[in-house]
Symmetry: C2
Subunit: 212 residues, 2 copies
């Protein structure tokens, strides 16, 4: 039985790797798992067949035999638990790596999502220009503290883990805004993530679809 994930038929970013399937592809590559991809259109994402697998009508999903999952954090964690390479063996280090997975999606990503919403859903509103600096400052506050914690370390807690995979993926989404580059420590951290062969393969795979 081969793992099947879903991805956008046409990613809104045109193949920059910012759609969430890239995170899952990356985890599949880090753990050496082959996978198939089922492409879905924006319309199909909101139809019953897809909603049965993803109740919020988004991508990616993950199917492996009888198991169907959604939420990138959950899919990446599932892969990390099943296969070597993304979670340390030491129990305390493992719990800390999982903490960074949650920090990525619940502390760092929400203000970054807010910026996407401000640009793409509220960009034409009369308040867009005056409100933007407030949204940016909320991201800066989080990045400043993340940067302070990372310091001179290569990864967030010892060896590269699923926590780094999720954090780098989330930080990549804020890079187009220029905010990431205000924190050279974090920009270098993200670059280390991107340099991993598994990330390169994941990026190339999503680009091949979107460049087609």
């Amino acid at each position: 039985m081969t793992i099947t994930i879903t991805a956008f038929e046409r990613s809104p970013d045109g193949g920059k790797g910012l759609a969430r399937d890239t995170r899952v592809r990356w985890a599949l590559e880090e753990t050496g798992q082959p996978y198939d991809v089922r492409l879905v259109s924006f319309q199909a994402m909101k139809e019953p067949a897809h909603l049965r697998v993803h109740p919020f009508g988004q991508i990616p999903t993950f199917e492996d035999g009888d198991l169907a999952l959604f939420e990138t954090g959950s899919i990446v964690f599932h892969l990390a638990e099943q296969h070597a390479g993304l979670l340390p063996a030491d129990a305390n280090a493992r719990a800390r790596a999982i903490t960074w997975m949650f920090a990525a999606v619940n502390t760092i990503e929400p203000p970054i999502l807010e910026l996407s919403i401000a640009k793409f859903q509220e960009g034409d509103k009369p308040w867009a220009k005056d409100r933007l600096p407030l949204v940016q400052d909320r991201i800066r506050e989080r990045l400043r503290r993340l940067s302070a914690r990372l310091g001179e370390s290569e990864w967030l807690d010892g060896a590269f883990s699923a926590g780094d995979l999720m954090m780098v993926s989330v930080l990549l989404r804020v890079r187009p805004s220029g905010l990431l580059d205000e924190f050279p420590t974090l920009a270098a951290y993200v670059a280390r993530g991107e340099a991993r062969p598994a990330y390169q393969r994941a990026f190339a795979a999503q680009l091949a679809i979107n460049a087609a």
Copy 2:
């Protein structure tokens, strides 16, 4: 060694149970673990001693011997993994319960956080009134789909799990806005969570501090 968590010396909600320590207290109660609480002031949360445990200067934190964690999702998951009561034994059901934990913090909570920010950080801005309906509609879109998935079920996937604990906790934060009550299926789901003896004990414990 006793588990120690941190909580607000004075919760901004005055004891309504919406501060994030309630989630952790609830998980501790569901799994029958005794715990101590260290109260921290808003000032102390941003000082080096606290930042060592919580790099983003928030509450709650979790300390057990050599292990220090932050992020409620991570703490609840750690408790669920160590003790019976919050995760099913079946591997696929366990993976789905974890999926709901991530859905709570990464799909449902972000638009709810946006509403808090709109009210408490941008409530005095000139755009506050005109922007509010957009923020509310983004929450409604998610609640509508969550309600459709829950349907007539008691919990999100079989027996009560850490996924429900996190989802109910996140939904409680939107109740004061009135939006939860627009979805009777979800309001009843949250009420079932609140009716659990473990939740009642957790709520009473945080209230005792804030009513003092």
